[in-house]
Symmetry: C2
Subunit: 310 residues, 2 copies
């Protein structure tokens, strides 16, 4: 079943201890779409400038991603430049040019409206809410992401709380969860966030994997959260997009299934980890552009061996 | 099969957001021994002062722990006082009185010499080496712990490297692993440490669980590390001794088995996590004093449900 993603399609400049690139295809919606494209039909809603190359659009199209919702407008595409130190968990942002993103007013094409899954990548919660409203009708599951900036600024925070009421599965990291719930314990923060709207909450722990918490009684019931590992990778070349690739693998796998129960969520957590682990092996989206489903399933087995007993 | 542990038997003063205790039974060897006692016969080598109460010795004896190797000497027992803030991962040490521990010269009683397992808790690497030497003969597996102080001080570091040659399984945390290997990537640090002597390395990630890495070909072979979770506990009352309790559950379970292969290690990682999760539920060793094997096995199943798919 098709999934619509709204978010940034952009260019990145990246420096890490393994090397650097001046400019490559990036953006949350790009990483999400490429990762999800190995599981299901993906449709992007985004905006790019007149510097967006045909070659980069072809990267998406060759993965059969629907790009009719990418608005081409006068000006330059969103550009981000960042650097990773020895601690690869956090990027130091060196430059952010919003460019055409500054006036982004996402419109879902009518051809997308029969999609049953929606992912609201990290953009202004008001825009997330608008897209959610445009998609009302057939949508079975809405996933969402956000970040510190929207969580901590008082005005944006108010809008975010409004948007969260329409999000079924929120995917954020430990720091974001603590800030959102104003609670230093992650498990307690999770319980608080599950009272804000989401029926499931995925908290990403970087190199330690991710945990999904469920609201009582949702998605078939059961008492326990579920924890998926990350691979202990000896070489992480570029962590950019790891979280968005996780979300793409996670939501893409769910959209490919016929039911929405906890066993599906558990496997989706593994597929999320798998896609995140591929993304960081090369700079930018390179690794996500040319995978095979067989490579993905072999790595899924590695994740299983990493965590399963006998 | 019996396991000998050498380390501190001490008193602690602890403050955490959940409360405080002025003085309670503590020490690495105490936590280790109590946790391991649910799996196998445990024998302690330690030193205490004349303030060590019969009541506290009875806590050990009632778990059938052999205390003949606890030397009683003139003076006061080792005392540590610490405080945890909202971030429960790190204790702030407020006071350390080495007392009788200052001149500790551990002697393994002849009655212990038929033990097949040995755990060197966190003490001076020279003393760890001495105990290792006294136990030569029947020992099948030596586990060990250490800490930043021994790793970073140039003289102690030299002694530590010597001791590591006689340690089969080293259990340390992420920070210690990075310092020991002088390598910021944990998976790369693991590979370096496995060249220093240990045939297996358990790296503890606090609230995120722990990973065991194996030296190529050891313990039955196989390519992959194994990652065990920690429980996402909503209330951690006192993190003191969590790592030692992990080590006790881990080594105790291994000592209770008839083989030393990777499946045994995997289950041992889970039992380590289980004992650590019990330890932090109450102040000091309270929770570890009166568990049942049934409670332990029920929690083992919770760990399984937390990580296993379908």
């Amino acid at each position: 079943m098709a999934i619509v993603v709204v978010g940034s399609v952009a260019y990145d400049g990246i420096k890490s201890p393994s090397g650097s690139v001046d400019r490559c295809l990036g953006g949350a919606a790009t990483y999400f779409a490429l990762a999800a494209s190995y599981f299901t039909q993906v449709r992007i809603v985004a905006v790019v400038g007149d510097d967006f190359s045909q070659e980069d659009e072809n990267v998406l199209r060759s993965r059969k991603i629907d790009t009719r919702g990418i608005e081409h407008t006068k000006g330059k595409s969103f550009f981000w430049r960042g650097e990773y130190g020895e601690n690869l968990n956090e990027a130091k942002t060196l430059e952010t040019q919003l460019n055409v993103f500054q006036t982004f007013n996402p419109q879902v094409p009518s051809e997308y409206l029969d999609s049953e899954f929606l992912f609201l990548a990290n953009i202004d919660p008001v825009l997330q809410g608008n897209v959610r409203a445009q998609m009302d009708g057939r949508v079975k599951l809405v996933g969402g992401d956000t970040m510190n900036y929207w969580i901590t600024d008082p005005n944006h925070r108010k809008n975010l709380f409004q948007t969260l009421k329409g999000v079924d599965v929120l995917l954020i990291n430990d720091t974001e969860a603590k800030l959102l719930a104003t609670e230093p314990s992650v498990p307690r923060a999770a319980q608080k966030i599950l009272q804000m709207g989401p029926r499931a909450l995925v908290i990403k722990h970087g190199e330690y994997g991710a945990t999904v918490f469920f609201k009582e009684g949702e998605f078939g019931g059961g008492r326990h959260p579920f924890r998926a590992p990350a691979l202990p990778l000896e070489e992480v070349r570029d962590p950019t997009g790891a979280g968005d690739s996780f979300a793409g693998g996670f939501m893409g796998y769910i959209a490919s299934q016929n039911r929405l129960d906890r066993e599906v969520f558990k496997r989706a957590m593994f597929y999320g980890g798998v896609m995140g682990s591929f993304a960081v092996e090369r700079f930018g989206t390179e690794r996500l552009q040319a995978l095979t489903r067989q490579e993905i399933d072999i790595r899924y087995q590695v994740f299983r061996e990493l965590t399963h007993i006998g």
